[in-house]
């Protein structure tokens, strides 16, 4: 049986798809058979970030509606061979994701994979509910600002009331907080909420802090999951997050301002 992990946030544009790409790649790199599903029907992006958009023939909705088999729709990643992508349909409506249809696909994937990562669309409507419904764990992607925190809180409430685990009265969905676009300098200047602020408000365990970085944007544009930028802060932060997701203890990094070198201190008066 696979572990089903939903990457969700409520709010749009906080880094769900970037996170889904990196976490699934990170799990696969460690040898776990992993599939990442794009639930954002109508606004598919995951294939772009995973650089497989030119190889999409059939999609998630085709499989649900019996127009294609899973094998026809699954795309094997070219960089990590234990990673597969199930792309979303760009032409359908989110309502095409029926509970029964999604369950059938997830059950089938569950027999073949160790991890199923569900990339949720923004919002709290049908698509997002379907993405989180079957989850065992949730990575709640949050930016350090008030509206994102509020939306994450909302989605946490939904996880605890509308997921399958909640409806069946099983153990609750395991929640992880992933803080993205974190800029310690701006926190110091009081322009951003701190890690402690967000942790205090949301009251769930911290999976990781991804620093704000130009590298994330560049990697997305090149179709490269940022976790593969192994030299970068953001890549290492995702690597740490994946390790923690698998139960490793790792100290949190990238949470405070970089120490400035002697020269920059001299010349910038910092």
């Amino acid at each position: 049986m696979a572990r089903i992990i939903v990457v969700t946030s409520g709010k749009g544009g906080v880094g769900k798809t970037t996170t889904s790409a990196s976490i699934s790649t990170g799990l696969a790199k460690r040898g776990h058979k992993t599939v990442v599903i794009d639930f954002d029907v109508g606004l598919r992006n995951l294939d772009l970030i995973m650089n497989c958009e030119r190889r999409v023939v059939y999609d998630f909705v085709n499989v649900i509606q019996g127009e294609a088999t899973l094998n026809q729709a699954l795309i094997r990643d070219k960089r990590v061979d234990t990673l597969y992508i199930l792309p979303a349909s760009q032409t359908r409506e989110k309502e095409a994701l029926t509970k029964e249809g999604v369950e059938k696909v997830i059950n089938e994937l569950s027999e073949r994979f160790d991890y199923i990562v569900c990339d949720s669309p923004a919002g709290i409507e049908h698509g997002a509910l379907m993405a989180l419904y079957y989850a065992d764990e949730a990575v709640v992607v949050t930016n350090p600002e008030v509206s994102s925190v509020r939306d994450s809180d909302r989605i946490l409430g939904i996880l605890q009331s509308k997921s399958r685990r909640a409806e069946m009265g099983q153990d609750p969905v395991k929640e992880h907080l992933l803080l993205t676009r974190y800029n310690p300098d701006r926190v110091d200047r009081g322009e951003m909420l701190s890690v402690a602020d967000v942790e205090e408000i949301l009251a769930i365990p911290l999976l990781g802090v991804i620093p704000e970085s130009q590298i994330v944007l560049n990697a997305s544009n090149q179709g490269l999951p940022v976790i593969l930028e192994e030299e970068s802060d953001a890549g290492q932060a995702y690597e740490d997050a994946v390790a923690r997701l698998l139960g490793e203890e790792r100290e949190h990094r990238f949470m405070s301002s970089q120490k400035k070198g002697f020269f920059s201190r001299m010349f910038k008066g910092g």
Binding site: G157, I158, I201
Partner: protein
Amino acid sequence: MSETAVSGVKHCFQLKSASVSMTALELYFFDDEAFESTLRDKISQAPGFFKDIPLIVSLEKYEGLSSELDFFKIIGTCRRHSIHVIGVRGGNDDQRRLARGASLALLPGGNQRDQEIDTGPATETTGAADSPTPARVETRAEPAAAKIINQPVRSGQQVYAPDGDLIILAPVQAGAEVLAAGNVHVYGPLRGRALAGIHGAEHARVFCQSLEAELVSIAGHYKISEDLQDNGWKTAVQIQLRDDLLVVTPLEKA
């Protein structure tokens, strides 16, 4: 300082409405010896419970003849066992006249909600004789059970306690709403909306570890966040209704 002292008029006493839960002795028939032996038997099962309690004699199920009712004997027997008969409930005119003759208070016939007090030895040990508090008071006047929530109440969620108190052992987040017929207790920050006494109970209160609420309401009287900021904001407080005004007071550390 009391209000009466402030107004300058000092009354000897003040009448207040009070509701007290009491034990009723439901009498089916009266026979002096049978009464005393039954009473002794009950007391032996729970001696601590019956010490110096007030008692109402309920005549609603009385099947014997009115002429057999001897309140003086009932009072005397009960006194010997440290039980104070203070009145009768129900009964016909003849029976009530007899009761009045024995200086007992007359209570109107009650409803049928009284619960039988089980004095079975399984639940009350005879050793309880020394204990001044009866162990089973709650079987008489059972309060509506409080609703207890252990998880954070998240934005968009609503928790409702329609009968009694609501106790939340976690944060109430911004955008969440908690409602109760009775009091609302939040052992965590209260960031959302809290409504106590929603059926109009003006004595209901809101307690929280940190007041950061969007709105607090008691029996329909409310304050919004803007009006709450000046007093006790982000500290542990209780909020109650006094003269139709919401009053915020700190929860002093004992």
